[in-house]
């Protein structure tokens, strides 16, 4: 058995046997699910209902303004701008006499903002009321008639198909978006979590003073590579367990949670909620997803995910190993040296959030080919279709460059590592580490 295999095995077993591994593997999906469920619940519960008092100088709005589930309009002669709050209304809308050919300014007064979504809905309602009223005045078609036409007219639906030659296949933007988003986030998180684990592992060898004992038995490169592969295998194991667990929990959740509730999640959420809503969307669009699974090459998506996860991990963990070898016991030292590594990862994440919206733009193309960002960004594009959104040449080039990239970073890191693990004392700068890498030893 080769020495590297022995090292890989030790790194793997020593981590998998730890209690923290079991805890994080089994608790994290539960926490993740609870987080999503909590976010969904909060969004459902906090969707508020507003009563808006209307002071109308025209007289026709009473018949044309339509209330809905979130806004009801109240027409009462004894409510005005002074007492709307005490009468239980959230706001008061003042509509002056409307004259054709100019803009009439309606005013909404409130003590507490209705929020951007509600305000814009209210604007739509007012506009619709004016439109309906004008239609009646000019064509004598009543509002009731208009409503009936509208409900009758709701008989078309647009489905998207990806044009791939003679056979077009149905595609789902929402599912592509959700899968792209979730894959991107996962690769981003896993790169950090396991990259940092490699760094800590290397630092552990230094602080335990075992590095020199080890390199008198094995080559430094074998030691570094064994560590990277061992921890990578831990990552894959953990990931597979998560997939199984999440699948099980998801099946249970789909049976228990009403589908209606899941569908009410808004399409975009602010900041950190984006992940939750994207994931929830993936779950909510149950029919979409199953259609997607049938129609999209799930095998390809899965293969690409594993490829980019492993490639991205190898690319970055080698750099993390180099940093770990260079610093001493003090984690603070590692922090400053880590910055040049973490920045591209964070940038990739930011780019990814833009790319899921526009998977074919130039930013998407370039960022998914350059190996610094390709693991995270490419996964946001692939669910949109290969070779539709991602031509074969782009996928091939991206994969090739990622392989060359991790060979490059591993080579570079190996040179830094072999010097770094035997160095104690002052913290090196990147300049010194660069010298280590390019000095012949």
């Amino acid at each position: 058995m080769s020495k590297m295999w022995l090292i890989t095995r030790r790194e793997y077993l020593s981590r998998v046997r730890r209690k923290t591994f079991l805890l994080s593997t089994f608790l994290l999906p539960v926490v993740f699910i609870l987080f999503i469920a909590g976010a969904v619940l909060i969004q459902l519960k906090t969707k508020s209902h507003h009563e808006v008092a209307v002071v109308d100088a025209n007289g026709f709005f009473k018949d044309y303004l339509k209330s809905d589930s979130t806004i009801s309009f109240v027409f009462s002669p004894d409510i005005d701008t002074t007492n709307y709050a005490t009468k239980g209304c959230s706001a008061v809308l003042i509509i002056p006499k409307i004259a054709a050919g100019g803009k009439t300014e309606c005013r909404l007064k409130y003590k507490k903002s209705l929020g951007i979504e509600q305000t814009s809905a209210l604007e739509d309602h007012v506009h619709q009321a004016v439109t309906d009223h004008m239609i009646y005045e000019q064509t004598s078609v009543s509002r009731a008639k208009l409503d009936s036409i509208r409900s009758q007219a709701d008989i078309t639906d647009v489905r998207s198909f990806e044009d791939i030659g003679p056979t077009a296949k149905a595609s789902s933007q929402t599912s592509a978006y959700a899968i792209g988003y979730v894959s991107g986030i996962l690769i981003y998180l896993l790169t950090f979590v396991y990259g940092a684990a490699v760094m800590r592992g290397v630092m552990e060898e230094k602080t335990n003073r075992i590095a020199e004992v080890m390199v008198s038995s094995v080559r430094p490169f074998e030691l570094m590579w064994g560590k990277i592969t061992g921890i990578g295998a831990v990552g894959l194991t953990q990931f597979l367990l998560w997939v199984i667990l999440l699948g099980a929990i998801g099946a249970v959740a789909q049976a228990v949670v009403p589908h209606e509730a899941l569908n009410n999640i808004p399409q975009t959420g602010p900041g950190g909620m984006a992940a939750a809503s994207a994931a929830a969307k993936a779950g909510s669009s149950g029919f979409d997803l199953s259609k997607f699974i049938i129609n999209t090459n799930m095998g390809l998506v899965l293969f690409c995910f594993l490829f980019y996860f492993i490639g991205g991990y190898l690319f970055y963990s080698a750099l993390f190993a180099a940093v770990g070898s260079a610093v001493n016991e003090d984690p603070q030292e590692a922090q400053s040296l880590m910055l040049p590594i973490t920045l591209p990862v964070v940038f990739s994440f930011v780019i990814m959030t833009a790319v899921v919206q526009d998977p074919t733009g130039p930013l998407a193309t370039w960022a998914s080919i350059i190996p610094f960002s390709s693991p995270i960004v490419m996964m946001a594009r692939i669910p949109s279709g290969v070779p539709g959104a991602v031509p074969y040449w782009q996928l091939g080039l991206s994969m090739l460059l990622l392989v060359l990239g991790f060979l490059g970073t591993t080579w570079l890191a190996g040179k830094i590592y072999r010097v770094g693990i035997l160095m104690y004392g002052k913290k090196p700068t990147w300049k010194i580490m660069w010298k280590w890498a390019f000095r012949s030893n």
Binding site: I210, E212, V213, M214, V215, S217
Partner: protein
């Protein structure tokens, strides 16, 4: 048979020469002392011999062939000065792991670890973690994992640091035992009394260069200063200095009196005279001689003299004479 032959070995770091044209030979079964102050280049030299560093110049021959780190590394056991273990790993597992990295298969590794654990009475530690061991116990474990694959060449850097006298002796006996079985041992240390006791042959390094090479006895002969201690029977005194009490001090052309040590006269024989001249003088003076010994410099004295460039006599006379 020569097991290790190092010729003109050189290693440069950015601005300095860590090892400059160092050559030496190591015979099979011998115990070899590698001495030198901090920063002399000992660790760099050892790292080249263990294949951790590539030399910039010069060559290393191991067992008569050019040294090949990939193959020969399993025939070398190295206990570095910066040493340690995986703290969270169980001791038995760790010893097995390190043994297997040295090329033993799992059965051999198990047999060897077991054998050494029994020898050092460590069986009960098998499932303990390294962090639960005392420093002395860790040192014993470290020694065991260094030698359990029966290396032909064993390199020990400060092997006794942190050990109490009982465990020091235990390790020392094992070192002798391994040398008797044919292993060669390079022993790097600052502790001169241990070198004198254990080593057959030494080299002394300073500022990257070898400044001394020879057998322990030979080196001492080389640096001796013709000092002799003469013990003579004298009448009991009233407690003051015996010399003053007797009002007598030896004086002759053939030697000068350097001082007294433990009731003996310490004399330095002048150039052109021999020890017999000293003896003859004392006999002629009617003194009965009870002892006559040559005082050889200790390695520590030689070390300090060579490293600091100070004359030997000034370094050790006060120490030896006022004892």
């Amino acid at each position: 048979m020569t097991i290790l032959e190092v010729t003109d070995l050189e290693k440069h770091f950015a601005t300095q020469i860590a090892v400059n044209k160092v050559s030496f030979q190591l015979e099979e079964g011998s115990i070899f002392g590698l001495l030198g102050p901090n920063g002399a280049g000992k660790t760099t030299l050892i790292r080249m011999i263990t294949g951790i560093f590539f030399p910039d110049n010069g060559n290393i021959r191991f067992q008569g062939r050019p040294f090949d780190p990939m193959q020969d590394i399993i025939r070398i056991g190295y206990m570095p000065e910066e040493r340690g273990m995986y703290k969270k790993m169980k001791i038995g597992e760790q010893a097995l792991y390190l043994a297997r990295l040295k090329g033993l298969d799992s059965q051999q590794a198990y047999a060897k670890v077991k054998e050494w654990f029994i020898k050092f009475e460590m069986q009960s530690w098998w499932n303990k973690k390294v962090e639960d061991l005392s420093k002395g116990m860790q040192q014993k474990l470290q020694f065991v994992v260094t030698v359990l694959h029966e290396p032909k060449l064993i390199i020990l850097d400060e092997p006794f640091s942190g050990l109490d006298p009982v465990n020091s002796n235990l390790i020392k006996d094992e070192i002798y035992g391994l040398a008797r079985k044919g292993s060669s041992i390079i022993f790097s240390t600052h502790r001169m009394e241990q070198v004198e006791e254990i080593c057959d042959h030494i080299i002394l390094m300073n500022k990257g260069e070898k400044i001394l090479d020879g057998s322990v006895g030979g080196v001492k002969q080389q640096f001796k200063e013709n000092l002799f201690a003469v013990g003579v029977e004298e009448p009991a005194s009233d407690g003051t200095s015996e010399a003053e009490a007797n009002g007598w001090a030896p004086e002759a052309a053939g030697f000068e009196v350097v001082g007294r040590r433990g009731g003996q006269w310490v004399v330095k024989i002048r150039h052109g005279y021999r020890p017999n001249d000293v003896l003859r003088y004392f006999i002629d003076q009617g003194r009965s001689i009870v002892s006559f010994t040559e005082i050889l410099p200790s390695l520590s004295d030689i070390f300090i003299r060579l490293v600091e460039g100070t004359p030997l006599a000034r370094q050790f006379q006060p120490v030896n004479l006022e004892r």
